[in-house]
Symmetry: C2
Subunit: 386 residues, 2 copies
């Protein structure tokens, strides 16, 4: 079996583990919950998904009832998708084809009463950074506040009363046409709320992203929306726990991790990192990865001694959502477009903080001082020799 | 099936997944390696384990050959065990019985050519903090540098040419008889190398540890030994990624996480946290948890509304080792004494750093400044409103 005959880990577990009690126990160990927390989604939503050939899954995470606060129940969602047209097509038609595909998926999310949706990293384009070519790929970059993608999404957000997080390649015309890897946050009233620029940039294998843009300069903003306080940790930032931590320090209740990553590189790390962040910071995390393989016009190398080639991928999808208590949904498939939805009670964040006490015991002052020390040029590590 | 009929997750996967290729793929997704990396251990070691009824498992993690450095191959090990005598026995006889049991296990490690061994948290005693009673449990505390346990281990370390990490309850007689949760590091020449005190103290459920000792004041020391640079992140510190990070910043190649934790509380988090730390910091991690249930003379409550009771547990064992590339060993069993061993090439740490670039892209200055800011009393989170 080549690894891409496997639709998901869940599929294989369900297939083989015939004893229900054993399967429950495996799920408890792997996902933090032995009971199925699937929810029924509206018939219109599932019909639309079926018609357009994408997966749709919904789950529920509950919290305890409180005396002094009402439940704050919202539905969050994530979309994973392949590109549509060959990468040799004109940039604008490539983008429009992706817009059209994703618009249907956002519509399905709306029909499933989703309040906040996040798209995958650089969702309007192929993930062309493997090529190290600047032309034509930089043409996909657009302004965060006034670019065509943002303008279009503002209409959708208003129409669907939905917060939309749109990770794009940003062109900063006010600063020498600089390019950034950016997430734009649009409110459910269709307003541009702000943006976050990717803080940590990879330099590994096909991910030549440091060739295209620099480390973000927007800090760790958290966006207070009608449906919770939201942060965005873009792709490679998920490998950096301190990045996740600062969104928590700034009050995030949900942190989305729009990504693009391939199986040979990171697949065994994928279920670990966003989930660990949810645990450590007592917030919800949403890990999103694209699917499919992308073929480029010119050959490129991967920095691994292998022959030049034109195909990048496969991206393994497997998008999933984790609750602050560390329990998680199964993954979307590894190879199919999909929409994963969780109905969550935001009150769970503070309840888990009170229970586990992680934020209270963080000792941020210890680390503020330790890091100040560590960043000095004459830093001597705390190394003890015999 | 009660959850404790399940010996380990691995057992159930091996039992059900009859197709070898599918099992390999599941292992790749769950453990980061599809091939078995088990090693044969010496016959004397396995015989001793079998005679004394504890599990023994060995695995190998390799690195690439380098031109300018020789391989640095060492064997590291971790011991998980239950206590021996009833907790109503005299303190000194309880301790001696544990010493005797663990001495045999250390002997087995020596016969398996282990160079560095780490014992579980507070290994000389029952994990009595659930009771909130000070007497007689504080009597288990002893001086780090000159206590009876350290003195005895110094002999063993010398005899076996083995670095021993000994997590104990520490009595600091020089500072008002203060009690700490401490790991003592003893060199393979039998010298007391130093100690580390647990940085983050839990206040959750039966883990009333803040009743007994305070947050550690020893920073994040890394001990340079003949067999690698070693840090110790004690128990609850594993929930704090910034704690793991500082051991990495100080140069650790292996970080041990001696723990004591129970199934109902943390079991689904267990495979996530130490493994995430290995990934984020490009070092080896060793997660160690005790096994068995412990019965105390007086009833106590667990802060969960349930009836007073006398039994704490079961601790679920499941000790495992993760490499810097995120691949890991299977777990020891959930209910049996055991010794897990990994033969590792320490060169893998720097190789993974070079490949993934995580330390290089950490942006510690960004976080030093952000945390200085966050710890001010008048801190305003970076919160953006519509």
């Amino acid at each position: 079996m080549s690894s891409f005959d496997l639709k998901s880990l869940e599929e294989i577990l369900e297939k083989y583990i015939s004893n229900d009690e054993h399967l429950k126990e495996v799920k408890r160990l792997l996902y933090g919950r032995s009971e199925d927390n699937k929810i029924e989604l509206s018939e219109e939503a599932t019909k639309l998904a079926s018609k357009h050939g994408f997966e749709i899954q919904g789950y529920r995470f509950t919290a305890k009832a409180e005396c002094t606060r009402l439940p704050r129940i919202v539905r969050i969602g994530a979309i994973q998708n392949s590109i549509v047209l060959p990468t040799s097509s004109p940039v604008d038609t490539q983008r429009e084809a992706i817009w059209q595909k994703v618009q249907v998926m956002i519509k399905a999310a709306a029909l499933a009463n989703v309040n906040v949706i996040c798209l995958q990293e650089a969702w309007t384009m192929p993930f062309a950074f493997c090529t190290r070519e600047k032309f034509p790929w930089c043409e996909f970059a657009e302004e965060a506040a006034n670019g065509p993608t943002t303008k279009m999404l503002q209409e959708w957000a208003k129409a669907f009363n939905m917060v939309i997080i749109s990770p794009i390649l940003e062109r900063d015309t006010n600063h020498s046409d600089t390019i950034w890897n950016t997430a734009v946050i649009i409110s459910n009233r269709g307003r541009y709320l702000g943006k976050h620029r990717k803080n940590h940039i990879p330099r590994v294998g096909d991910f030549n992203e440091s060739t295209y843009y620099m480390e973000g300069n927007t800090g760790h903003p958290v966006f207070e929306t009608d449906f919770g306080r939201i942060g965005v940790n873009i792709c490679y930032g998920r490998h950096h726990p301190q990045n996740w931590m600062m969104f928590g320090v700034n009050g995030a209740e949900i942190v989305f991790n729009p990504s693009a990553t391939v199986g040979s590189l990171s697949e065994p790390l994928w279920p670990i990192e966003a989930r660990n962040a949810a645990i450590a910071n007592s917030y919800f995390t949403v890990a999103i990865n694209r699917v499919g393989s992308e073929e480029f016009p010119n050959k490129f190398t991967s920095g691994d001694g292998n022959d030049p080639h034109t195909i990048f991928g496969p991206f393994y999808g497997s998008s999933y959502i984790t609750a602050p208590d560390g329990s998680r949904t199964p993954s979307l498939s590894r190879d199919q477009d999909g929409l994963v939805i969780a109905e969550i009670d935001l009150n769970l964040c503070r309840q888990v903080k009170d229970f586990w006490g992680f934020p209270m015991t963080q000792r941020l002052d210890l680390y503020a001082n330790a890091l100040q020390h560590a960043t000095k040029l004459d830093f001597k590590p705390q190394l003890i020799k015999e």
